[in-house]
Assembly symmetry: C2
Homo-oligomer: 597 residues x 2
């Protein structure tokens, strides 16, 4: 007994109205109405909510049917919402038992057996097993394990913890800060207090080797293995992406440190690498010993000897990346983090390392204390390392040049760009440029065809932005490192702000977390200033952004407006950035983005 | 047998020439000449080097004799050189045995008996003994001992270590970073390896209670007691200062946290307090317990109860300062450092505190860990504390208002200015201003005559400078905190930069240490921008500077040029600032500063 049968007159009126509304809004509508004593009363109407899958499909279908233009179709999909399309998701039909809830730190879903150390993750993954890495919290030493795992689960840490940031960068799912976990590394097990509402109802023990499932989009941990549905980048979605690429002006690059990440990003449409961090390469099992030997060196000769061991590894890294990015530009940043990040801080680890390296524990402890910094973010890092120890950057530049020549001679189209981090004066760049040119003169003649390598810098300190006209005399390109630029401009440590930033967002002092969406009023002024000053000195200067903001739609609109040439973001955000860049271009022509989130 | 007798003809020519030269240069000249076979050859002439005492005396005498103008006299004395006139110095005739050499961290000389703890310093000083505080390094908990001591000696730390910065602020002599010291707190003694050149020749042991002498201007440690000569602020020097005051436009205030410092600064000519830090008051023996109780509070009520205990102390502090500064403005900064600075970090101290406070060690450790920050400089401090815990700032503002009313009713002319640290948005200030006005409404009616209290902010983050037009809508004054503004603009931690800043100065990347002399090209741009934007919003906005740069002559020239109303510096730099401000005003009229250093 449908409405049509029961109240045919009212139904007819309703049908007229909703067809008129759909035609007027040219979209799927949510309509509220009531019929009292046979008379229809319209209460409310609004554009209907839909999942990202539905939004993409409807936009593409409506454009194909000629109801809307392609441009309108592009504007109809909220870029932030398509994140869910780019990752595997849990089969909605599967039966699930929730063990615990944490923060949805990195989207996607994954099943695997539990491992409690990065080394175990790597070992079992190399045997073909799917593993989930479970840690109280992660540190840079766990990178190889995170890389090997399907997903990451931590007991501590927020949305900007190491685990969360790295996982998002890798496009791996991550559930962070699950306080109900009680991890016992020694016993190789974890006890999970299971809650129903606020009441603890039982304790489940999961041992290493037992399977669980993570949903990083929802922040959930499930018992056992649950089937997942793969991401779907073709079909309607692929069509929409092609349309987006036709209208956008901004290029989209990716932040990638390995040939694997580079390949993933290329599949997502990345047009080059905007940030290749070299420090992650230093943590590899086969390199870290040489890195530590370098740090513990007392003389330049010792340091050079240790660096000589690293050179072939770095060269191979770059050869792999250049090949994966054949025909596209690759921006490589010289070593950035302070050296103490490469030394262990727990006493047991220090003892182990001392034994391995054949130095006394006392010497190692002394070196660690010497390197300790009160504010490492503002410390001895970036180009400052290269000013004190030029041989480090020299080794890295040599590796880049030699890899480029090797690839070029094998027919690969290499377009390397050497990027100096944390510069704030022209003279720092001049010193690096001198080394750069000396190596170029020595290595490049070995290429069978000309190889062009660019030299540029990051703009990540307010002083660099303020003095961009000076820096541009030496730098051929600028890449805005808006993570650090936000930290310094606002005087806000990303590692510490978690404690009070929620108070700021709650009190509406910030509209959004400035580490997620660029602070246009403040930090944005410095970006705009540096663009203007850089162009004044060097009209053809290449301008890009490689902070996490490069994958945030609102920030991408700003980057378009301010005249950057490209944004660079983590591989899994590349499609989001492509769509946002298209919307920014359309907004220039008066197009209005319709948020359907 | 003088030259006149031996070669009377050449002598006559020489006399003619040097009189002509002195008249031409209107200054004391160094002349080099030779006489060969009766003929005089002039080789070189330049303005003669002189001590600061001589420079002041000659400038004043020449002006009085009409050889030069008063303005020329002012321009002839290098402000940096007069530092030595403002502190006691060692009697140059005394016989001395050098024990060790360190960094000349704070000028002046002092003798006293050695003590190895702040508590001992305070105790013995209260018994009328002159003591020197010797520490491996100092921390905020040692402030009361530093205050009680005649001078400070440390084994570790550079020119910007805690000991050095605080000692300069107090105008006490300090020798820092004396690596030849081997301090044994338990045995209450130190072994000093005495060097001759690079060779260790003996080890001298000094026990607590034995006298030594420090020369903070030379960075020397001497055995035993050596007579000193007091600073001389009258006579020629006093006269020159009067002349300087007649021509300068910039006012000179001081950074002072106690009535004593305020009185010293007033004697040196300070025209108000530009920065009164309230955190040093929190470390007082009679307050720290309540401060810690406040930090450990779990509820707002507990926190308010602890703060109620602090209120009377703070009120008394401000009453003392307002009285010392009768008729002059006093800028009081609300609490700035992160709360963990008020908790001990050594295990023994934590145990003691737990016992005193009646809480478990576990709770105290947990709280300390909770409060730990990776980058405290960019952490939960300044106005951010007041956003999270409004009751702290409220207590402080109430203490200021009540002290002001009490003083006003006793006939004191009070001019308080409440200053909010580390703001970066207008809304932070709006929230504080609302509290400020609520308290004003309640307390000010109790005054028998109108009391006016200003509300303003520090500009110490790049974002604050960039958004100064917004901040000026709420702030009636800006005070540039150029220490922190330098740290954030350059991304340079003052506590850590010691390790590589020398490399930067050596490589001529920086002309000077940017923490000693303002980086005009970079940080200066932000200052100039904030001045312009602040005035655009509020034409009569009051503008000053209270970083350490407020006492640096080159930085003072910049402050004059950019249109600030005042500089504020440590008490002992006030005369330097007065002279530099006068020179800046004269430079406007084309006067040229003649460095005689």
């Amino acid at each position: 007994s449908s409405l049509e049968e029961k109240m045919s007159k009212a139904y007819k009126v309703l049908e007229d109205i909703y067809l008129k509304l759909e035609k007027h809004y040219r979209d799927m509508m949510d309509i509220e109405f009531t019929i009292e004593e046979g008379t229809l009363f319209m209460l409310q109407c609004r554009v209907g909510k839909r999942t990202a899958t539905a939004a993409v499909r409807m936009a593409v279908e409506m454009a194909k049917e000629g109801l809307i233009t392609k441009e309108e179709a592009i504007l109809r999909v909220d870029p932030a919402s398509i994140d869910q399309l780019l990752h595997p998701m849990l089969d909605p039909k599967a039966v699930k038992k929730t063990l615990a809830t944490g923060l949805p730190a990195s989207p996607g879903a994954a099943s695997g057996i539990v491992v409690f150390s990065a080394d175990d993750a790597e070992k079992l993954a190399s045997e073909g097993k799917k593993v989930l890495l479970v840690r109280i919290e992660t540190s840079p030493e766990d990178i190889h394990g995170m890389q090997a795992a399907q997903g990451i689960l931590t007991a501590r840490g927020g949305m900007t913890s190491h685990a969360a940031v790295v996982a998002r960068g890798m496009g791996k799912c991550c559930v962070a800060g699950v306080s109900a976990l009680n991890i016992d590394y020694k016993a190789q097990k974890m006890d999970i207090t299971v809650y129903e509402g606020k009441k603890a109802v039982e304790t489940v023990t999961i041992k290493a080797g037992e399977p669980i499932t993570l949903d990083g989009s929802a922040g959930k941990v499930y018992l056992g293995q649950i089937p997942t549905i793969e991401a779907q980048l073709t079909g309607y979605f692929g069509e929409l992406m092609v349309w987006a690429d036709e209208v956008r002006r901004l290029k989209v690059r990716t932040n990638a440190d390995t040939p694997h990440d580079a390949a993933v990003a290329r599949k997502f449409g990345a047009q080059g690498i905007g940030l290749c961090r070299t420090e992650h390469m230093f943590f590899g099992e086969d390199r870290i010993a040489a890195v530590r030997e370098m740090i513990l060196s007392d003389t330049v000769e010792q340091r050079k000897k240790a660096l000589d061991k690293l050179l072939p590894f770095q060269r191979e890294d770059f050869i792999g990346i250049f090949k994966a990015m054949d025909g596209l530009p690759v921006t490589i940043r010289t070593l950035d983090p302070p050296l103490h990040e490469f030394l262990p801080n727990e006493h047991g680890q220090i003892e182990d390392l001392a034994k391995t390296m054949g130095v006394s524990v006392a010497k190692l402890v002394q070196k660690t204390e010497e390197l300790h910094e009160f504010n490492p973010m503002l410390g001895h890092r970036g180009v400052r390392l290269a000013i004190t120890y030029p041989e480090i950057a020299t080794m890295q530049m040599r590796a880049i040049f030699e890899a480029a020549v090797t690839c070029a001679n094998e027919g690969v189209d290499v377009q390397p760009e050497v990027m100096i981090p944390l510069a704030m004066t022209k003279m720092e760049l001049d010193k690096m440029k001198a080394e750069f040119e000396a190596i170029a003169k020595e290595v490049l003649p070995k290429a069978k065809k000309p190889v062009k390598i660019m030299f540029g810098t990051m703009i990540e300190l307010p002083r660099a932005a303020l003095c961009a006209n000076e820096l541009a005399k030496t730098a051929e390109f600028f890449s805005f490192g808006t993570n650090d630029l936000t930290q310094t401009t606002m005087g806000l440590s990303r590692d510490d702000a978690g404690r009070f930033l929620p108070d700021y967002v709650n009190a509406a002092i910030f509209a959004k977390d400035p580490f997620q969406s660029l602070d246009v009023e403040g930090v944005g002024q410095l970006v705009a200033m540096a663009v203007e000053k850089g162009k004044a000195t060097r009209p053809d200067i290449k301008l890009g952004i490689c902070g996490e903001h490069g994958g945030d739609p609102a920030s991408i609109h700003f980057c378009h407006k301010v005249g950057l040439a490209y944004v660079s973001c983590s591989p899994f955000r590349v499609p989001i950035a492509r769509l946002a860049a298209a919307q920014a271009a359309l907004a220039d022509k008066g197009g209005k983005v319709a948020s359907t989130a």
